[in-house]
């Protein structure tokens, strides 16, 4: 083989690897294909019993059948309704708290300090309290979701307000914006970049808290389906529920929040 041909081949190889790095879809297919392959191999050699580790095909079958049977779809809709309601409530409370904390020293010293403490409490820890206060009810789950999800919004709002350049506020004041007008037309839009990232975090927190709440408190939904599957010893359903939770979290994050973040970054001229 001539020297020239050799270089041509290495160039072609480099080209392939560059294309591979760019082709995210292909990378993911290979990665997940590999995981499923290993999984299938373990099942094939019966390292674990079938009732503890069902085959990928069985899980897929359970998943599709569950959707076909409509019980999954119903559970997902119920959970979504609950989490969206809780999330909207939590982020409104969070933003309001954040604005209060940022505006008044007193609230920063009191609420602001307790936020950091609250943040360290995992949502499951609220379950006994929620059960005793609200019983086995929708309110108990919502309580857990709101308590968990309002914290990132509040902290993000505070940081957002604190990082507004002084000149922006002054320019607006000189141009006639004062009190409420200033909040609506300047302070609120100013914190949007901070707010989007914290709303994204709030959503992730809400979703986790929801599953924890449904799992322990019950109420028809994904968490309860998971608990049901456990008590029936139906491992295929346990895994398919976990897959559903992961996929839903991923889809909302990628479709809603990533897009919003990108748009904001473009308008604000970051990156």
């Amino acid at each position: 083989m001539s020297e020239q041909n050799k270089t041509r081949i290495t160039v072609a190889q480099a080209d392939y690897s560059r294309k591979f790095v760019k082709n995210i879809f292909l990378q993911r297919v290979i990665f997940f294909g590999l995981i499923i392959f290993i999984w299938q191999t373990i099942v094939f050699f019966e390292i674990y019993p079938q009732y503890l580790l069902p085959s990928p095909l069985k899980v897929l079958h359970t998943l599709l059948f569950g959707f076909f049977e409509a019980s999954y779809t119903q559970a997902i809709c119920e959970s979504l309704r609950r989490v969206i309601f809780g999330y909207v409530l939590a982020s409104s409370v969070g933003v309001f708290c954040g604005l209060l904390i940022a505006r008044y020293r007193f609230f920063d010293n009191t609420i602001g300090a307790s936020l950091t403490a609250l943040q360290s409490i995992p949502s499951v820890a609220w379950v006994p309290l929620a059960l005793l206060w609200f019983g086995i009810s929708e309110a108990a789950v919502l309580f857990i979701v709101v308590l968990e999800a309002f914290i990132p919004s509040a902290l993000g709002t505070r940081t957002g307000v604190h990082t507004i350049p002084k000149e922006i506020i002054r320019a607006a004041q000189a141009l006639g914006a004062c009190s409420l007008d200033l909040y609506i037309r300047v302070i609120f839009p100013s914190i949007i970049p901070n707010l989007i990232s914290s709303l994204r975090l709030s959503w992730a927190f809400a979703w986790r808290a929801l599953i924890a709440g449904e799992l322990f408190v019950s109420g028809f939904g994904i968490g309860q389906q998971l608990e049901l599957a456990r008590s029936l010893g139906d491992m295929a359903q346990v895994i398919s529920m976990i897959v559903i939770i992961a996929i839903f979290g991923y889809i909302t994050d990628e479709l809603v929040f990533r897009n919003l973040e990108k748009r904001v970054q473009r308008v604000w001229g970051f990156n």
């Binding site: 350049p165 000149e167 922006i168 002054r170 320019a171 607006a172 004041q173 000189a174 141009l175 006639g176 914006a177 004062c178 007008d181 037309r185 300047v186 839009p189 100013s190 949007i192 473009r266 308008v267 604000w268 001229g269």
Partner: protein
């Protein structure tokens, strides 16, 4: 219209140190005044008191016989860092201050586009602020400050962040617009040349060495009568007077 500073002092709270003390000044209608001095001599403090953001600890500032104690549409600002609103496009930025004056949106945009034309950015009306260069951003800021027809334009080192060429362009643009609209201008700068090119009157400030309790004070005032556009070489006398006052 005149602005009058009467024995104005600004004190640090709870300390016996003055940023400036017993300032007496007058600014006439349509006059272009430069506050010139090194950083930390109190010129920006004077400007922010004049804008109404800080209250004088002693004495008072009057504008049209009214006490200056809060921000007002009649005194708008241009900052070194532009301070444009990134979530609004160019024309929305310029129209921002008109919101509380004019109800009709089309009318607001009509006025805003007139000022955009004045600064040569009519073609960028729908652009995002982040797409503009520094000089263009500062043009938008000037248009935004002027669109509400203030009697007094306050500029805090507005061209400090720009490169030399853009800076010269902006200076002549500013003079052009000022001669056209004739607002009073208070222009803070630390560049002697810039003050000489622009001002009717230069107020030279410096850090205070005589009194340890006062940080900055006015050293001298210099009137510049030569017509614009000016040639710096013909202003050597004034320049040496300023240099003298600063030492």
């Amino acid at each position: 219209m005149t602005v009058i500073f009467e024995n104005v002092s600004l004190k640090f709270p709870e300390k016996n140190i003055f940023v400036v003390k017993d300032i007496n000044l007058q600014i006439a209608k349509g006059e272009f005044v430069c506050l010139l001095g090194p950083s930390g001599c109190g010129k920006s403090s004077l400007l922010s008191m004049l804008a109404g953001f800080n209250q004088a600890s002693q004495g008072h500032i009057l504008m049209n016989h009214n006490l200056v104690n809060k921000p007002d549409l009649n005194r708008t600002l241009v900052f070194q860092e532009y301070a444009l609103f990134p979530w609004l496009n160019v024309i929305q930025n310029v129209a921002f201050g008109l919101k509380n004056i004019i109800r009709n949106r089309d009318e607001r945009y009509l006025i805003a586009s007139r000022y955009l034309k004045m600064v040569g950015l009519l073609n960028y009306a729908r652009s995002q602020v982040s797409e503009l260069s520094g000089g263009m951003k500062q043009r938008v800021a000037i248009a935004r400050a002027l669109a509400v027809k203030p009697e007094l334009l306050l500029m805090d080192e507005p061209f400090g962040a720009l490169d030399d060429k853009t800076r010269l362009d902006m200076q002549s643009l500013l003079i052009e617009i000022w001669q056209d609209l004739k607002p009073s201008v208070v222009f803070v700068t630390h560049s002697v040349d810039e003050a000489l090119l622009l001002a009717d009157r230069i107020i030279v400030m410096d850090t205070n060495e005589q009194d340890a309790n006062v940080i900055g004070s006015i050293k001298t005032e210099i009137k510049i009568n030569s017509p614009r556009p000016r040639n710096l070489e013909l202003l050597e006398d004034e320049k040496s007077k300023i240099k003298l006052a600063l030492h």
